[in-house]
């Protein structure tokens, strides 16, 4: 009867014994790392826009309030994007010839809206409402980062579920007075004051804030 196993069978078996578990563990670890990589999350990656709009210039430089362009942020789930006419309110008077603003002028001339690239994109199965976060005293900077330092807008946070629940479990870390919501430079002074802010805002309990149905409706 012929031999079932070849002379190299033992070597093969030992190699497989080592390589397969290593590959499994390594693969899982790689996937885990990939999930947090800036390639997957797009954190810190400036997004190309049809108009090279600089928040740094308009917010830090000129001191324009967030709500001048994002008009519905206090009233609606969607923060709102400025219409072409909103841009032209000023740019029909200043920088009228700037080549940078050519797409804006063209939008108005050809009656076609500007197609901005979305920077903060949530999955469709998540319900997110800007207005409630504003009303309860969560600042723009908590999620969007130092927008006033961004020449081209990028994403500051991962917007992953773990990041959301972190704040929903510990709202005292993010809450601020209602008057300071749009102040990008305000820093919390102490957790005792924040507890009273939570009471003032009639914030729901951590239990309710972390209910599945709070975000997955």
């Amino acid at each position: 009867m012929a031999q079932i196993f070849s002379p190299g069978a033992n070597t093969w078996f030992r190699t497989i014994l080592v390589v397969v578990p290593l590959a499994l563990v390594g693969g899982i670890f790689a996937l885990y790392r990939f999930n947090y990589s800036s390639y997957a999350t797009q954190v810190g990656v400036p997004i190309d826009q049809p108009v090279a709009f600089s928040h740094q210039h308009h917010v830090a430089g000129l001191g324009i309030d967030c709500r001048y362009c994002h008009t519905s942020v206090e009233k609606s789930a969607f923060a709102g994007m400025p219409s072409t006419e909103a841009c032209m309110t000023c740019h029909s008077q200043i920088w009228m010839e700037a080549p940078l603003l050519q797409p804006v002028r063209q939008s108005l001339a050809t009656n076609t809206p500007i197609r901005w690239s979305r920077v903060h994109q949530l999955a469709d199965f998540v319900y997110f409402d800007h207005s409630i976060h504003i009303q309860k005293g969560i600042g723009c900077v908590s999620c969007h980062g130092p927008v006033d330092q961004m020449p081209i807008t990028w994403k500051q946070e991962t917007l992953q579920m773990g990041w959301c629940t972190e704040c929903h479990r510990h709202p005292e870390r993010g809450i601020r007075p209602r008057t300071e919501v749009f102040n990008l430079n305000w820093k919390p002074s102490g957790s005792f004051q924040n507890q009273s802010l939570i009471q003032q805002a009639h914030l729901r309990s951590t239990q309710e804030l972390t209910d599945c149905t709070t975000c997955h409706r």
């Binding site: 390639y39 997957a40 999350t41 797009q42 008009t71 519905s72 009233k75 609606s76 789930a77 969607f78 923060a79 709102g80 994007m81 400025p82 219409s83 072409t84 006419e85 909103a86 939008s107 108005l108 009656n111 076609t112 809206p113 500007i114 197609r115 901005w116 690239s117 979305r118 994109q121 999955a123």
Partner: protein
């Protein structure tokens, strides 16, 4: 106010266009089929468009399944990457009152079956998504019925024209208006004597005013009104009382007793939503302070078993061409009446005494009612078996009947029993109003077909 369509006038106009004896040899399901539109032929060949004809060929079918299998197994991989980039397209000019991400509500009215319901339409950035009642409208009072709820779908009907089309080409309103004005001046030359309009029941004051204006300019034009489902019989029934064909709104909040004969007034009336609200308000403690529910008696509001049995007996000679023994029919009706009441009246008493339906265990004193009910159900069963026997019997041995054994008024009783294919061999002529119930049945012979031209 409504006008009745001049039916005989229409029928004669129709018969002039068609030669009545030209019987169609083939049947057709749609206009496209009749015209043998090549696009339709292709569609018919692959009735389930796209992949349908793949399945007739075993080789491509295998290919199809392989591709689909691969796509399905690869679908999961899509979740491993980040979502595709999206665009945000803001307005060129932000509309007034609109808050991005929030709906606007528009008050409008929906004409339906000779009335109009005041509604609020929810619109998300110009896209209507939901219809609810307008609380300020007297015919809605904040409520809607299934028709208003379903009306939102008609806005997304793929058959609905998205733009102005002429000869399959998109046209502008300017072209339409200039063409229409040209056509109108042509038609108005002889006071519009060759102009005819076909409309349904119009309740819009604006449209009525426009019709009035057009009638002044073309006094000889004719208006025809026709509804697929009309309330003209109900409206006509009020003529002896009010002197004109109107439908009054009854003040149900004042009615202590409501008796409805074949009237589903909570569903079919133009005032159905207001009626429902007023009817319920009388039962609502908080709205009136005093509960004064009105007693409601209803005779056949929708097809009941008794009604459908009567209907079956009414149409049987028309369907089969043969008559069943009428005496047996009356006997069956009596047996069903007795059986029904013996079944359900004890149940009513039982419920009143506190026993819920469909409980197998109950106190001793309820026994006699339950036995009565069981006996009634047996009689009811016999009552239903009787028609089953004699109706089947009549199919083979029943007396043959002519076109109109009941001496009925309707159109359908002027054709042979059983009706031929396409119901009428020749174009019939209506010589009477459809709902002239107050008149005696005419002694005339069944309507003669029009002479062919």
């Amino acid at each position: 106010m409504r006008q009745n369509a001049n039916l005989s006038d229409e029928a004669s106009a129709k018969s002039k266009r068609e030669t009545p004896n030209a019987k169609r040899e083939t049947q057709w399901g749609s206009l496209e089929q009749l015209l043998s539109d090549p696009e339709f032929e292709i569609w018919l060949h692959r009735e389930f468009p796209a992949a349908a004809s793949e399945f007739s060929d075993p080789l491509t079918r295998r290919e199809f399944l392989r591709l689909m299998g691969a796509s399905f197994s690869l679908m999961g991989l899509g979740a491993c990457t980040r979502p595709p980039p999206q665009k945000i397209v803001p307005y060129l000019e932000q509309p007034e009152l609109l808050v991005s991400g929030r709906p606007l509500f528009f008050a409008t009215a929906m004409p339906f079956n000779g009335s109009a319901t005041g509604i609020l339409v929810e619109s998300n950035e110009g896209r209507p998504t939901k219809i609810e009642g307008n609380p300020s409208h007297p015919l809605s009072l904040g409520a809607t019925s299934i028709f208003e709820q379903a009306a939102i779908l008609s806005l997304y009907d793929p058959d609905r024209s998205k733009t102005l089309v002429r000869d399959q080409r998109i046209e502008t309103w300017e072209t339409f208006i200039s063409d229409w004005l040209k056509e109108e001046s042509e038609q108005l030359k002889d006071d519009g004597s060759s102009l005819r309009f076909l409309v349904d029941t119009i309740v819009s004051p604006t449209t009525l005013w426009q019709i009035d204006q057009l009638q002044k300019r073309s006094p000889r034009a004719k208006w025809h009104q026709w509804d697929p489902i009309s309330r003209s019989s109900i409206v006509e029934a009020y003529r002896p009382i009010f002197g004109e064909a109107v439908e009054p709104e009854l003040d149900l909040s004042q009615a202590d007793i409501v008796v409805a004969f074949d009237s589903d007034y909570l569903f079919e009336s133009p005032f159905r939503l207001a009626y429902t609200r007023k009817f319920v308000n009388r039962r609502n403690y908080s709205s009136s302070g005093v509960v004064r529910p009105n007693y409601l008696y209803v005779v056949e509001p929708s097809p009941t078993i008794t009604g459908s049995m009567a209907e079956a007996h009414f149409w049987w000679p028309k369907i089969t061409g043969r008559m069943y023994p009428e005496l047996l029919g009356k006997l069956a009706a009596l047996v069903i009446f007795i059986g029904f009441n013996l079944t359900f009246f004890p149940q009513f008493v039982l419920g009143y005494l506190g026993m819920p339906r469909r409980y197998h265990a109950y106190p001793e004193q309820f026994q006699v009612y339950n036995v009565l009910s069981t006996a009634g159900a047996t009689i009811l069963g016999i009552g239903y078996l009787l028609p089953l026997v004699y109706l089947v019997w009549s199919c083979f041995y029943g007396r043959r009947v002519g076109t109109n054994p009941w001496r009925a008024w309707g159109f359908e009783w002027e054709t042979a029993s059983p009706p031929p294919v396409h119901n009428f061999d020749t174009m019939p002529v209506l010589q009477e109003e459809a709902y002239s119930y107050h008149q005696d049945f005419p002694s005339k012979t069944p309507a003669k077909p029009l002479e062919t031209m």
